[in-house]
Every structure is written in C-alpha cells, then in structure tokens.
Amino acid sequence: MSAAAAEPLVEFDEAELERTWRRPPGLWGWLTTVDHKEIGMRFIVTALVFFALGGVLALMMRIQLARPDNHFVGPDLYDQIFTMHGTTMMFLFAIPVMEAMGLYLVPLMIGTRNVAFPRLAAFSYWLFLFGGITLFTFFLLNIGPDAGWFMYVPLAGPAFSPGKRVDIWSQLINFTEISALAASIELIVTTFKMRAPGMSLGRIPIFVWAMVITSFMVVFAMPAVMTCSLFLTTDRLVATHFYNQAEGGDPLLWQHLFWFFAHPEVYIVFIPATGFVAAMLPAFTRRPVFGYPAIVSAASAVAFLGFGLWVHHMFATGLPQLGTSFFSASTMAIAVPSGVQVFCWTATLWSGRIVPRVPMLFVLGFLFLFILGGFTGVMQASEPLDLQLHDTYFVVAHFHYVLIGGSMFPLFGALYYWFPKMTGRLTNETLGVTSFVLLFAGFNLTFFPMHLLGLHGMPRRVYTYLPETGWGTDNLIATIGATILAAGVLAMVFNMLWSLRRGAPAGDNPWMADSLEWSVPSPPPVYNFAYLPYVGSRAPLWTRRDDDPVVTGLRTDCREVLLTHTSDASPDSVSLLPEPSIWPMMLALSATVTFILSCFTPWAVPLGAVLVFISLVGWASPGGSEGRCRMKPVARMTREELARLSEIAA
C-alpha cells in the first residue's frame, strides 16, 4: 500500500477507522448500510438477476418465433413478454447496472471513502429493487404491461388498454427514474467535490468522466419520460386528455416526449461502456489510452448530440420534410464523435502490446460488434432508407448490436475485470474464454440473421408469422443462436460463482492496472483508503513513487471525508458523512406504497405525501455518532495541513 511508505503526520488508528466506517452487524446492518461498495454490489447483482429474467423472456420469444404459426405462447402473453423484456432490459438492467458500477467504482477511482450522499445511494437501490419486484409480481399475476416498452398512445390509453397493465408500467417509470436520478446526482457531486488532491479535471479516469457525462444525460433526459408517463397516468386515472386527439390532445406528444428521453437513453447505456473500455485498455495494452482529451470530448459530444436525434424514431409519422432532414443530419453527425473514439482505441491497440486476458477479449469483441451496429445506425439515419427499415427486424438487429455488442460486451468484460477487486478472487481463465466464445458466436448467430429478416419485410412485435413469408429459416437460426448466447451467459455466471469460492487470491492489482482502485486491498476495506492518496498523473499507479505524499489528518473516529475544488482538486474543506440508517429504505417503501396505490386511486397521492414526510423526518433526524462528531470542531485537519495539501495539489 502506498500509505505504508509515507510518513503519517498524526497518529493513525486503523482499527478505529474500521470501527467508524463499518455498518452494524446482522440483518439490521444489512438493511441500513450506506457503504457505496455494499450498495453497489447489491445493485449490480440485482440488475444481473433482472438481466437473467429479461433473458428468459427473450428465450420465450425466440421459442415462439422459431417456426411459423407456432403456438408456444398466445398473442396476449407474447405482448406482455416483449413489453416486459424491453422494460426489464432498459429500466431494470441496462441503466441501473451502469449506475451501480459507477456507485461501486467511482469513489475508489477518485480516492475517497464513500459517495457524497450515502443515504441517497441506499434509497436509490431500495427504490429500484422494490420497483422491479412490483413489476414482476404484477407480471406473474397476469397484469404485466402489454403495449410495448414504448407505450404508444392511444394503444396504451384508457380506451384501448383498459385494466391496470399500463398503469403498472407507468409507475415502474417513476420507480426507476427517481432511482436513476438519485444515483446520477450522487455520482456528479461525488466526482466534482470528493476527488483526491491532485486529481484535476485532466487526470480524472475516463470511466469516471463517462459516468459524469452519463449522469448529466440522466438528469436532462429523465424528466421527459417522467412527464409523459405522468400525463399517461392522469389520462388513465383522472381522465385528462393530454393524448386524446378528440379533445385537443395529440398522440404524437407522447412520441416526442418519450423519444426525447429514450434516444438519449441509448447513450446513457453506451457511454459508461466506453468508460469500461477506456478503463480496461491501459491494463491490457500496457500503455495509457491514446487521445484522452479526444475521447472525453467525444463522449461529451455524443451526450450533447444525443439529445438532438429523437425524431429519427418518428420519420414515418409524416413530419415535415425540413424537420426530418435536420434529424437525418444530426443522426449522421453523431457518428463522428463515435468514430473518433473507435479511432483512438484502435490507435491504442496499434501502439500497445495486447495482453489477451478474458476482459480484453470482450473489449476486442466489442469493437467488431459496435462498429457493425454503428454502421447499420448510419443506414437508418437516411430518412428514405429508414422508412424501409424502421420497425422491422433490421432495427432489432441494429440496436442489439449496439446495446449488447456495444454496451453489454464491455460490461461483461468489466465484470471479469473488476471481479478480483470486488471479491478478492481471480476468475477461471479457461471458463472465461469459453464464455466469451459462446457469447460472441451465439450473439452473432442470433442477431445477424435479423438484418435479413428486416430486409425481407418482417415487422417487429409480431407474435407469429405465416409460413409463406419465408421467414422461417432465419428465425430458426436466430433461435439456435439464442440458446448458444444463453449458454455463454450461464458459463459466465458459473465461472463467477465458482471463482467466488475457489478462485485464486487476486492480490491488490492482478492486472497491473493504472488506476487508484487497484492500490487498495481486494476486496477494499470498508473505509476504502487508509490514507487518501495524492494523484500526480492520469495513471497514478504507474507513476507512483515511494515518497508520494498522502492525505493525513482526517479523523478516524468520525466519518470524515475531504472535499476538494471541482477544477484542480485542491483541498477545500472537511465534511461529515452520515451514519447507516433504516430511513432510506422506509422512504423507498413509502414511495412504493404510493406508486402501487396510484394505479388504483388518486387518493394515493395525499396518503403518499404523509408517508414520505414521516420517512424524511426520520431520515433527517441526527443519530449515532453524528451529533458527537458535529459538536467537535474539525480538530486534526489543521489549517497547516490544508495548506500543505494545496501545495501538493498545485
């Protein structure tokens, strides 16, 4: 450990630090924890469970479509299945798992002890968990949403979707969006205010940049979908007419609001994946990623442009020519920053030495799949061509190449990459390679034929097709591919479960990587860093010297963290983080009660307000050692110490 060599300025009691930061033991501690690592791990595992459930739904669809006129499931169940698949993968897996990786990794990568608002992180997790449980409970009760994850009105409106299926969906939006907003604000503030001294903006790891950029996208995109799903709820619950054209509403209002969220959402899922790639590349090419400023600006450009593309989902709605031309152009434009990122990664490979470990295989696989998905995306940017491809299986192929190839492959690589850090164990290399080969082959076998199906006229969201359409062969190939893909996922899960018990001890830094999380033991201690490090370069562990300074003087008997300035990460002040609390979970429960009852009666809103108020009072009440720590002046972090740190940072 870096701190060992440095000269501590004050007495340092590691056991006391451990006592201060650890949570109470047992179930109570489990429910009240505010440790970002524990919450992050739970978040990741829960999201992966939803991924598995979404995958089972996908397999059911593939079985139904394996041959024409199949009767494995009927139209009613099929509609619920594909709606649940899309909703689960988007809202309960893709966004949450990225946020979760951020919650786990960001504090470790920027060198601090926890996230900025630990209770908010716990709240974010509980709300996400309860939302997912709610959705699947209703699905098992045959009240699963069935109008598509995009919920176009008027099909999803009160006239054509009576019953409670659509209401469950719009409440799920509330669950996941509030959860995502909470996590995003968490990550933005943590990154901007809690970086280790010396980690100026230009030294922030690219993955952390990616999470910050993504979080800003969440902050701007989510309100749109919350608005449109709220309109839908009120249209259905209290007979407003936002989408009722007969009363002056407009069905297209839904599409504009929904896609203003849902197109950026693709990038919300993709940008963290570019962060994974950039985090893994240095370890496996033995050089820093080429073009740090270019990659970070490209990601920002993608995030910015991502808000100007939504109409390309609506080319067929008959909007004016000038408007569609603009969105054709903006859609093509986003290929430029994406291209720059790919060029930078290729340059990194070109000038590095490629170490073929399992995470790297996923990075390389990602490049091949993402470029193909990007290319088919450019094809659909062209409006006249898109009118032929839109809403066909070509689109299904395209976005699975982008989302699975472009996001999930880096994610799987990232899971392999950080598994040793999170668990202290190495995964099995042979099983890892096997899972990669199965995933890569299965993925292509499943989704490549869908390009052809789309070109041959197969629309999306059909529960069956006629034999004379000639779509049988390609569909059968896709179904076979899906089973191979599933085998790959199973191999990966098995590998991780096996390694959890039997894997070789990982040590601090098994990949000889460059970023701060690898400087602490695996798994990291509850307080992350015994001494907060000083960061002197973009690759702190590669440029580390024995006489590097460290931060001393944070109290070990209180949950103190160092706040630094946003631009140059020079020390600003010392802040106190809250203790474990049950109230984040209680607030999430209150929200859950409110949301579920809102499907049935508007009176849920005042009732919910009371419950939420009670929970917030509990949340804000000081408890534990907080009072004691607040009463004492910040003793050990003297003015001299802050001055010393500022000097170091400069």
């Binding site: 139209p75 062209s382 409006e383």
Partner: protein
C-alpha cells in the same frame, strides 16, 4: 493462443462471408426491400446499395485492419509495471492519423447525407401528379380502402386488398379509426403511419404487374401480426375492369341455398358490422364484404380464401385470429352451409 484462434477463425471468415451473403442473397420471400417493384422502394433500394454497400466494404476493411493489428500486437504476458515512456513522434503520428480519419468520416457522412436528401426529394416529387386517389383507414386489425372519385357514385369501399394500375401514381390518404398503424408494402414503398386525428399520405407507383404483400408495421395490439394487405398491380385495362366490378353491388343469388344464406346474413348479427351492397347490410364497423369471394385472403391475410377456411372463420374466428373484433356467432348446420354458399357467390 486462444485469442488468436478465436479471432482468426471466428471473425475474419465469418464476417466477410456474412456480409457477402447479405449482398448477393436473393430471397424466396414474398416481400423484400431489396427487390423493388415500385418507384419509392426503388429509390430506397438505391440508397441501400450505395450507403449499405459502401459501409459493408468499409466494415470488411476495418475488420481486416483490426484483425491485423490484434494479431500483430498480441503478446503473451504483461511484464510488470514498467510502462515505457510514450514515444512522442509516434503519438504525434497517430494523432494525425486519427484526425485525418475523423475528417474522412465527416466527408463520407456528408456524401451520405447529400445522397439521402436528394433521394428524399425524389420520393417527395413522386406525388406531384396523382392519377388515382384512395383513402386507407387502419382498423384493429384490418384495412379499409375507399376508392375516391369526383363522381360520388363511382366511389366504393373494399377491405384488405386493392388494385393499382402499373405506372400510375396512386395517392393513399392514410387515417386511423382507433390506434396508430403503419402502412408498408416493402416492394413498393416505405412506411407511413396512420395516426388518429392526423391525415397522412403515401404515394405508390408500381413499376411492374404483380401481387405485393404488406403488413402493418406499428404495433397496434393483439393481432398486429395478422394485419396484412395485398396490393395487386395490373395493366390499365385490368384496373379499369376491377373498378367497374367493385362498383357493382353484390350479385342477386339464384340458388335456393344461396337465397337462404343471404337471409341468414341479413337477419342475423352479421349486419351489425358488415356491408354487402345490394342488401340491407350497411354497417362499416367491420370489413366490407360485397366482393368477398374475389379476394385472396380472409381475416386481413390470416388465411387463404377457401371454402374450408371460410367455414372455420365463420364458426370460430377467435381460434383463427385470437382477439379479433368479430364475436362468436352461434350457427346451425344448414344455416352455416347456406351462408358460406352465399358468401362464395360474392365475386
């Protein structure tokens, strides 16, 4: 080396083969974007070959380059933390290459955009001289087609199938009776949505005679999968004959069975939803049936229009097309026989 094997065998061969297959594959399927028979689809397919073709070639080149880089730069082990200091001249060279590539990417996209916009313009220009006008109404889950004519008595309504003259421009006025649908005949033209409260238009101009099948492309509920439409493109003379024939009311039944069949129809619940011109049945809630027997399919393309399927549809349409809006109508043996016999005379 596992990785090299995976890459050499898995990628290089598979990808180039797959993309070649995509480009040369000809389809046995009924509908295809790549076999245009209409002006709109031809323009779009031109774009496909230009943009899609260019990108396919580029993909193979980039893939080959990546494989080359990976194979060349692969090493067995990471040897410790000793990271060589960056080779500055090489980094500058790489920066130049990245910049040049970014510029080339931009240029390529500008070309794509220009081609795309000019084709878009050409598609719009197709609607300048309209020869025939029809109104297409989307219903859950069938299509209503109304032939428009300045002479009111020349208009007529039909369902799920219509004819167009080859080489003539046909304007389809698209509206919806319930939810959003999307009109799409892959071989003839791209999609256009039918949106409640809005009026959309799409133009088709068939370039050769034939039957072209399309299918609703916007998810519209339970039977979205069985909302098909047939467009028959034929010569001007055949089209004129079709118009004359469609305007006719249903032929007067002659046989005893058929007369009874018509009575079953007009005295039963059928008239609550259907129209058969020449009878009292004049409701437009369900598909118009005046010339039902001349159509190719039943249930908006769900089943072929044969006697056995007609029986199946009348007795239990819910098992043929679950969730469709036609209620189960209890029907006795002789009534059913005669009703089917009469419907079969509606040529």
């Amino acid at each position: 080396m596992t990785m090299r094997c995976a890459i050499r065998h898995g990628l290089g061969i598979a990808w180039s083969a797959a993309f070649t297959a995509l480009s040369v594959r000809t389809s046995a399927a009924a509908s295809s974007v790549l076999e245009p028979a209409g002006a709109g689809a031809r323009l779009a397919s031109k774009l496909w070959w230009w943009i899609g073709g260019t990108l396919s070639v580029l993909y193979v080149l980039i893939g080959a380059l990546l494989v080359f880089v990976i194979v060349r730069r692969a090493t067995r082990v990471a040897d410790g933390f000793s990271i060589p200091p960056p080779d500055e001249p090489r980094e500058r060279r790489l920066a130049k290459i990245v910049a040049v590539n970014a510029v080339l990417t931009t240029l390529l996209l500008v070309v794509f955009l220009a081609v795309s916009l000019s084709v878009g313009h050409a598609v719009v220009a197709l609607s300048s001289n309209v020869d025939v006008r029809m109104k297409v109404t989307g219903h859950q889950w069938w299509w209503e087609i109304e032939y428009e004519d300045p002479v009111a008595s020349n208009t007529f309504v039909t369902a799920n199938e219509f004819h167009v003259p080859v080489g003539k421009t046909v304007d389809l006025h698209l509206v919806s009776a319930d939810v959003i649908h999307s009109f799409w005949i892959p071989n003839l033209t791209g999609k256009r949505d039918l949106i409640p409260g809005r009026n959309n238009h799409v133009v088709i101009r068939a370039e050769r005679a034939g039957e072209y099948v399309g299918q609703c492309a916007e998810f519209c509920g339970l039977q979205h999968a069985h909302m098909r439409i047939v467009v028959v493109a034929e010569s001007d003379e055949d089209f004129a004959r079709w118009l004359v024939h469609e305007r006719e009311p249903a032929p007067e039944p002659t046989g005893e069975k058929e007369i009874h069949g018509r009575q079953v129809f007009t005295s039963g619940p059928c008239v609550m939803c259907h129209t058969v011109r020449g009878t009292m049945a004049a409701s437009r809630a369900g598909p118009e049936l005046t010339h039902l027997a001349s159509r190719r399919t039943l249930g908006a393309g769900t089943i072929p229009n044969t006697r056995a399927h007609l029986f199946a549809w009348i007795t239990d349409s819910q098992s043929v097309k679950p969730g469709n809006r036609m209620p189960q109508v209890p029907m006795q043996g002789a009534d059913l026989d005669d009703l089917a016999a009469w419907l079969e005379t509606l040529r």
